[in-house]
């Protein structure tokens, strides 16, 4: 009940003309990013951060959140119309979405994706309203030891972003932690890893690193390939609604997608692509005609699109309540919050209640705006694909340069971005995952601070982490996650050895 009162207050702020305008701009820019192949939500959100620099925190975060979930939907349009996913979560939508478009049913595919995204996003936001306040209150009991142990859980979940190799994910995580340590030591004030370079005393900025790793890194990978010029559509958009006999199956698929996306959003270390892929697999398993999947069945579009939007909204729960970013895009949002002087976590609900509830309310509003924007304007979005990529590339690079420069008015930060771009490009080519580095870059300073605060409280006694029940529980969870992940890696080596022995 109290949550609903807060939510009403949030609506009164989010519905102001200014915030509505920024939510709409965010949805438009987000959809634009999603539509453009090669730019995912993480890169897009990072590139557009500079637009929000001089705004107040509430409209700034409302706009960035709108960019985030707008990009999630934008990727669907290209998947359906031209078989090119705008971002990873939309890859699976190509399978049936494009087939539907080829059969002249692009409209219903896009329509059900928009409706599913709306329902998934709205239900997940309702879940956020219900869960956020109790969870934040519980988290208020945390002192530095509990917070340190919680951050250990967050870091151990880096395993979830491991990709093909756990060890390489850990190496990237360590690299992010080391980058976060450049600058002045938070407790004693001693300079660390600054090599006498004055700008490094302020540390390595989060924005230049993200721009380098995600923004420009992706551009270079795209630039390697020959530009194919103007893209052509796979289907004409007419009616947006499914046939009457398809509605029941769509509704059950949307409900399953919502549940799955919401659940996965609560788990840090997953991502929206996992939500959409799992949802597609589940639909295929429960379907009476699994053999038809991939030939243009509507539930093959409805479920994954619903799941990825439910995921996008639910992933904000661990961020707002515990200060844990679960995915690279959420980590970028967290960085934007910190830049605006707002520390995500339980205190956010106590100290900045108006802000946080306005952002939550804006998620509902954003979902409505997306629905209104996307259905009638699909044709317009498709036309954007006719802009040659080489022209877009110049403007994307410009935004990256402005973004890196404008945070501290520092040309040095542009240099940092270029170095990170080279590193990001090499690591991405070699399949070293970049997401762990971004997460640890953000969590690293908090983790070090809480560890050292804890030990100051206990006067150097490490048992403080094991004698407090919540802290102990989190450390046990961390150990379980680490051991489970290590177990998955070790047997492969052992198996290989035993095979060799048998031979």
């Amino acid at each position: 009940m109290e949550s609903l009162q807060h939510l009403m207050m949030g609506f009164s702020v989010a519905l102001s003309l200014q915030n509505l305008l920024f939510a709409t701009i965010g949805c438009i820019l987000g959809t634009l990013i999603g539509v453009l192949p090669g730019l995912g939500p993480a890169a897009g959100t990072a590139i557009l951060i500079p637009i929000t620099f001089k705004l107040n925190p509430t409209p700034a975060i409302i706009m960035l959140a709108a960019i985030y979930y707008g990009a999630m939907y934008g990727g669907t349009i290209t998947s359906v119309l031209i078989n090119v996913p705008g971002e990873a979560a939309s890859v699976v939508t190509c399978l049936d979405g494009y087939e539907m478009a080829k059969q002249g049913r692009a409209g219903p595919a896009l329509g059900i994706a928009a409706i599913g995204s709306f329902i998934g996003g709205t239900v997940a936001t309702f879940g956020l309203v219900l869960v956020a306040l109790p969870l934040a209150r519980f988290a208020l009991k945390f002192g530095p030891p509990e917070y340190f142990a919680l951050l250990c859980v967050g870091l151990s979940l880096v395993m979830g972003l491991a990709g093909k190799s756990l060890i390489r994910a850990l190496l990237m995580g360590i690299l992010g932690l080391l980058l976060s340590m450049v600058g002045v030591d938070p407790v004693e004030g001693a300079p660390r890893f600054t090599f006498g370079i004055t700008p490094l005393l302020d540390g390595i900025g989060f924005v230049p690193v993200v721009m380098g790793f995600f923004g420009i890194g992706e551009i270079l990978l795209n630039a390697e390939k020959a530009f194919t010029g103007i893209m052509t559509g796979g289907g004409k958009v007419t009616s947006f609604f499914p046939r009457r006999d398809e509605w029941p199956i769509c509704i059950t698929s949307i409900l399953r997608g919502t549940g799955l996306g919401f659940f996965l959003g609560l788990i840090p270390g997953t991502n929206s692509a996992v939500a959409s892929f799992m949802s597609y697999i589940i639909e295929k398993r429960v379907s009476k005609h699994p053999e038809k999947f991939g030939t243009g069945v509507i539930e093959g579009v409805a479920a994954p699109e619903t799941a990825n939007n439910a995921y996008a909204n639910a992933a904000l729960i661990p961020l707002f309540t515990l200060g844990l970013p679960g995915s690279p895009t959420i980590a970028i949002l967290m960085g934007a919050l910190i830049m605006n002087g707002l520390m995500p976590g339980p205190l956010l609900f106590k100290m900045h209640a108006t802000f946080v509830w306005a952002v939550i309310a804006s998620l509902y509003i954003g979902n409505v705006i997306l629905l209104i924007l996307n259905l009638p304007l699909v044709g317009w979005w498709a036309k954007l694909l006719k802009i040659p990529y080489q022209t877009l590339l110049v403007f994307i690079l410009l935004f990256c340069i402005v973004g890196a420069y404008s945070l501290n008015n520092s040309i040095f930060d542009i240099g940092v971005m270029i170095v990170c771009r080279v590193l990001g490009y090499i690591f991405k080519k070699l399949d070293f995952p970049l997401a762990p580095a971004i997460l640890t870059l953000i969590l690293g300073p908090m983790m070090e601070r809480s560890l050292r605060q804890s030990l100051s409280i206990s006067q150097g006694d490490y048992s403080i982490f094991f004698t407090r029940p919540i802290s102990l529980l989190f450390l046990i969870i961390t150990a379980v996650i680490l051991l489970t992940s290590a177990w998955q890696v070790l047997p492969a080596v052992v198996r290989q050895e035993s095979k060799e022995a048998q031979v």
């Binding site: 637009i51 660390r192 630039a223 390697e224 040659p388 590339l393 040309i411 030990l455």
Partner: protein
């Protein structure tokens, strides 16, 4: 492919050793608990250990050929180098020349080398990207650098 991984792992191993060396120059302990060098020391050690494990792992794997498209064709390399070169040049020219002039040259160079647009379109887009963004961001209270010419 695994040979390439080994090279990167060796570089990461050396980087880890460098971090350990730097951390030992910082104080390891403070009055209560760890000092400024504690975290980085153990992270460096961990990096060395993980890089070694990965090297051993790649030694056990059979030699695989590079995946198709791993090394871009000549045009692809040229495009990547053009972008990197343009960015590095921007880094050094931004202070003396200012935003508008530097970005005008940057845009003309990339638009002409990446695509094959008509000159009038290249000039128009370059004007928008340089003067246009300068004034757009000024409206957003982001002041981009002005050079010796004051633009």
């Amino acid at each position: 492919m695994s040979r390439l991984f080994r090279v990167v792992d060796c570089l990461l191993l050396l980087f880890g050793a460098f971090i350990v060396h730097l951390s030992l120059q910082l104080s390891y302990g403070a009055e209560f608990g760890p000092g400024p060098g504690f975290f980085s020391f153990w992270l460096g050690v961990l990096m060395i250990g993980l890089a070694l494990i990965d090297i051993i792992g790649t030694l056990r794997q059979p030699q695989e050929p590079l995946p198709p498209g791993f090394i871009p064709d000549r045009d692809g390399i040229r495009r990547v180098l053009y972008i990197v070169g343009a960015l590095v040049a921007t880094l050094f020219l931004l202070k003396p020349l200012g935003w508008t002039l530097t970005i005008f040259c940057f845009s003309i160079f990339l638009l002409r080398t990446m695509g094959r647009q008509a000159w009038w379109l290249t000039l128009l887009l370059s004007l928008v990207s340089s003067f246009g963004t300068f004034h757009l961001f000024r409206q957003l209270q982001v002041f981009l650098p002005t050079g010796i010419l004051g633009i």
